[in-house]
């Protein structure tokens, strides 16, 4: 599979790189943009970023493996992040995760993101999403669901299946 970054995206990235006196600073922003475009960060994307920013591939690979938002594998179309941390846990987030995992036939004992075989959904426990006052919270792609209930989760699944 050939890896190619569309010109419009590359222009956008060039503009981002201009925000910094040192190009390397743009690494995280590049990775966000490439992940948004390609769905995940392949080795080609890592190499491309390194080359573009005048870095060694390990410099970028170090980031991809350090920052949990970066993914090296394709994820589901609907990505569901359930907050695991204290306030949400007190408000029942473990039950929400168990519900989603059960409904989607995933493995409750596994850590990290899990994607359904049809590639529709990815579910994962994440750390504090900084919305503890409306716990439990769930992020569905870029939207934050506050005071999320089991019924809300079911709606997310129904919408995602459409």
């Amino acid at each position: 599979m050939s890896f190619s970054v569309p010109q419009a995206l590359e222009n956008e990235l060039d503009e981002l790189a201009s925000h910094y006196p040192q190009k390397r600073s743009a690494s995280l922003m590049f990775l966000h943009a490439l992940q948004e475009h390609f769905g995940h960060l392949s080795q080609e994307a890592v190499d491309w970023t390194a080359q573009k920013l005048g870095l060694q591939p390990i410099n970028v690979y170090e980031l991809v493996t350090f920052y949990p938002m970066f993914r090296q594998e394709p994820l589901g179309k609907t990505q569901i992040k359930v907050c695991r941390t204290l306030s949400c846990a007190l408000a029942g987030s473990a039950e929400l995760r168990a519900h989603l995992i059960g409904k989607l036939g995933l493995d409750s004992h596994r850590h990290g993101p899990q994607t359904t075989v049809d590639g529709q959904f990815t579910v994962e426990f994440v750390e504090c999403l900084a919305s503890c006052g409306t716990a439990p919270v769930v992020m569905v792609n870029e939207d934050l669901l506050e005071k999320c209930s089991v019924a809300d989760c079911d709606r997310v699944l129904a919408k995602g299946r459409k």
Partner: protein, 571 residues
């Protein structure tokens, strides 16, 4: 640079070193205010350096004097105190006995608990007190060591680092007999093929990052990094990339544990069986100082030996691995006269008699810039008696910015300074060829070079009356020798090389020569004696000192003064 021998006027007195008075474990001591950092730039003296000056030691893993400071292992945490200052007068507050009141450093939120500082990165200040042996310091060390060991596989019996492992060493001094740890260990990749010469065991790794810093900041190849996060942190190269520069094996030396191992040395030998001999690398004109590890006459490894005037603490991989040939089975091991086995006594007498009967101008000498300075000196003396043309063979390659010299001969300066070839090497070879062709040159002495590769082909050599050859391995020239004298690898003898910058350095004998082979300087001295061009020289010391008296560039240099690091002469 130290030990520079020059006839120049006495150097100006060095500027006075500013000192700071501190206490280390209760003892007063003065230490310089500034000391060189890893790049040699003066920076404020650290606690670690101060304790070293006081004769103590602060255990450490990540700190290395030749690398940028990382401060990550925390092994060098040291309890300390600073003089209490009166905020109004900015003067020290005194105890009743007139001594300054010392504020022991404590956790700001828990004043009953001492707070340590990392000695590797914390500068000292006047009046500071360091407690590198206090119970609190010891407890901090024990705790760090315990943490480093909880996820360690504890596979010392099969670990190559055993015997030179800092985890083992410090465990003896600072460890606890039993670990409290009852949780499952973190598992990480084992036997990772990091590059053509390196294997990595990530479970043994303590993440000190010495390897990363070395390859990035010293070797200039930013090839290694840490992947994953937290307790799962793992040293790695980028996927699909090899850790393959010419300095990778230095990371094995730097690794304080058994994480990085050399494919060449892995599982070969327990390090405590190795005899260590101070030597030099002879793969190029840099002359990196090395230590030869051998056991029962077999060489098992070369390691760099620190010399800031030459190679810092490093050497290149090519040089490090350039030892296997010493044990080759086809080494020349017999003295041969016209192909028949002979003895040294006979052969030396034969060479002497042929030279004595050779008319002036009928002898030529091709020496090698891989020979020792002493050997070159003797060859030059022999040649001078006969008015012989002398030359040597240049050997060039690509240099790099760190250690590798474009000059791939270890002793080109020796060739120049002894007068074998005053200017460019190899320019008189055509003259020698022409002399043989014309029948003027009838006797040729070749040392350590296959001259058939350099314009003196077999047909030409066939026209000689006498071809005396000394070498270590067989080649087209040795095959044509009338008298063949088996010589030694440099690890089998003593001698000196003069590197490209004029550093005169000596090396010691690590292993015995093969078969009948002898150090070239020994039989050259016998030949020279036979010719009456020199006497004495029963020892390398005597030979060197005699040479130093005659070679102008070496004036004032003595074997004994060379020490382990050599001296620099003007070149």
């Amino acid at each position: 640079m130290s030990n520079v021998v020059t006839p120049a006027p006495a150097p100006a007195a060095p500027p006075p070193v500013e000192k700071i008075r501190i206490k280390v474990d209760g003892r007063d001591i003065e230490v310089p205010k500034m000391l060189p950092d890893w790049q040699g730039k003066p920076v404020p003296t650290t606690m670690l350096q101060a304790v070293q000056i006081a004769g103590g030691e602060v255990p450490h893993y990540c700190y290395h004097p030749k690398l940028p400071v990382a401060g990550n292992c925390r092994m060098c945490l040291v309890e300390f105190g600073t003089p209490m200052m009166d905020p109004a007068t900015r003067k020290p507050v005194l105890n009743e006995d007139g001594t300054p009141k010392i504020l022991r450093s404590v956790l700001p939120y828990e004043p009953q608990t001492p707070r340590g500082a990392i000695a590797c990165a914390t500068p000292i200040s006047p009046g500071m007190e360091l407690y590198p042996s206090s119970p609190a310091t010891r407890q901090m060390r024990e705790a760090v060591l315990e943490s480093l060991l909880i996820n360690h596989p504890l596979d010392c019996p099969i670990c190559d680092q055993a015997g030179e492992c800092k985890l083992q060493e410090y465990s003896v001094e600072h460890g606890q007999a039993a670990s409290r740890f009852v949780e499952p260990k973190v598992h990480k990749p084992k036997a990772v093929d990091l590059g053509p010469r390196i294997i990595l065991d990530d479970e043994r790794c303590i993440l000190c990052t010495r390897c990363i810093r070395f390859t990035k900041d010293i070797a200039g190849d930013d090839a290694l990094g840490i992947v994953n996060r937290g307790s799962y942190n793992t040293i790695a190269a980028a996927p699909g990339r090899q850790f393959d520069n010419n300095y990778t094996l230095n990371t094995v030396d730097l690794c304080p544990v058994g994480a990085l191992t050399s494919k060449d040395f892995r599982f070969k030998m327990r390090v405590w069986f190795l005899k260590e001999t101070k030597s030099l690398c002879n793969s190029c004109g840099t002359g990196c100082n090395i230590q030869v590890g051998s056991r029962e006459n077999v060489i098992h490894r070369f390691e760099p030996r620190e010399n800031d005037a030459v190679n810092s603490s490093w050497m290149c991989d090519a040089g490090r691995l350039n030892y296997q040939w010493v044990g080759r089975s086809d080494r020349l091991q017999e003295v041969l006269i016209r192909g028949a086995r002979s003895t040294w006594t006979t052969a030396v007498a034969e060479v002497v008699s042929r030279l004595i009967s050779a008319p002036k101008g009928s002898v030529a000498v091709v020496a090698s810039a891989r020979q020792t300075t002493e050997e070159l000196y003797l060859l030059r003396a022999i040649a001078a008696r006969h008015g012989a043309i002398t030359d040597s063979i240049p050997r060039e390659g690509e240099g790099d910015r760190l250690l590798v010299s474009e000059d791939r001969n270890p002793n080109s300066q020796g060739v120049r300074l002894t007068g074998i070839a005053y200017t460019e090497m190899g320019i008189r070879l055509p003259e020698i060829a022409e002399g043989i062709r014309a029948g003027r040159i009838r006797t040729l002495l070749v040392f350590g070079e296959d001259v058939t590769q350099y314009g003196l082909d077999a047909e030409l050599l066939g026209q000689l009356e006498t071809l005396v050859v000394s070498d270590i391995l067989p080649n087209a020239t040795t095959a044509l020798a009338h008298i063949l004298l088996p010589g030694c690898a440099h690890v089998e003898k003593r001698g000196t090389y003069i590197n490209v910058k004029g550093r005169v350095q000596r090396f010691m004998k690590a292993v015995e020569p093969r078969g009948d082979a002898r150090p070239e300087w020994e039989f050259l001295a016998e030949i020279a004696r036979g010719l009456g061009v020199a006497s004495g020289f029963s020892t390398i010391e005597g030979l060197f000192n005699r040479m130093a008296g005659e070679v102008p560039a070496l004036a004032g240099v003595e074997w004994a003064k060379l020490g382990d690091g050599g001296v620099t002469v003007p070149v």
